[in-house]
Subunit: 141 residues, 2 copies
DNA sequence: TTTATGATCAGAATCATTCCGATTTAACTT
DNA sequence: AAGTTAAATCGGAATGATTCTGATCATAAA
């Protein structure tokens, strides 16, 4: 998934093009990390005076519905990041400082360690938290 | 961990005994599932008229600090359950309907599939979501 | 250019959670 | 048994994230 693909998807799904949508997508494309709604607002509000939280939230959930963004709950707030791809299943290392992520290619569900008759599995979450190289160094100074 | 152990721990740590604390602990002991703060309030407010949210939240976070409860974020709210044990590391199958849990004994971190130099690992989360036997049956009626 | 509908704004409303000052109570002291 | 003290609780206000609403605006199609 990239900005161009995302914009095409929006178009084919009948959503209108707006500069704000483009800029939100571009922001997520530039930053390979999880961002909260307020991070997005802050990043765009110099350019768009009076930008509304509503616009941010509405677009973030639209993009999530369309699979353009993926989301996780981190310390009580929803965070969003660009979907790495629509079909490649993966998990993340997540930096607790800056939200930057790295892929984990192996999935614990692959190894079929979970077998429980009667429990109907719908979804799963595997996340590893810590500090990325840059943030880790800052802490040790 | 059980109610008696939890109460002993509270005592040795210098916290006072109150009926509300006992009842909160008993509730978690009876229900082997994740409960939100409001679930706890609802369960106790017939007995304690005027029970305050503050009391619930204060005790839930105290119990969590002491390792009596463990917590997770589920669809935007904190949920709590009795700690299975202080030293046995485990993960959960979680029912999306009733919050009931089952243990997953294997941990994806055990197999050391995650190796990333420069990323300092602090914590991880592995949860499997779905429907337990009872809730799954209700859905298929 | 006009029009219809989707997008945005601004601010109010909601929901979970935390904070605060006043009051009550458990546990210790005399 | 009564007094003391610090912890616990209450009730309600404050906060922070998120959602809703009615009015206005802008995109895309006619």
């Amino acid at each position: 998934m990239n900005v161009v693909e995302a914009k095409e998807l929006l178009k084919t799904e009948g959503y209108k093009h707006t500069d704000k949508r483009t800029d939100i997508l571009q922001l997520f494309s530039d930053e390979s990390r999880y961002l909260a709604a307020k991070d997005v607002l802050e990043a765009l509000q110099n350019k768009y005076n009076g930008l509304s939280f509503d616009t941010i939230y509405r677009n973030l959930s639209l993009f999530t519905e369309l699979g353009i963004l993926e989301t996780t709950d981190l310390d009580g707030e929803k965070k969003f990041r660009f979907s790495c791809s629509t079909d490649y299943h993966h998990h993340h290392l997540i930096c607790l400082d800056c939200g930057k992520t790295k892929h984990i290619h192996q999935c614990p569900m692959d190894t079929s360690i979970i077998s429980d008759e009667g429990f109907q599995i719908i979804d799963h979450k595997f996340e590893v938290y810590g500090y990325c190289e840059q943030c880790g160094e800052q802490k040790n100074v």
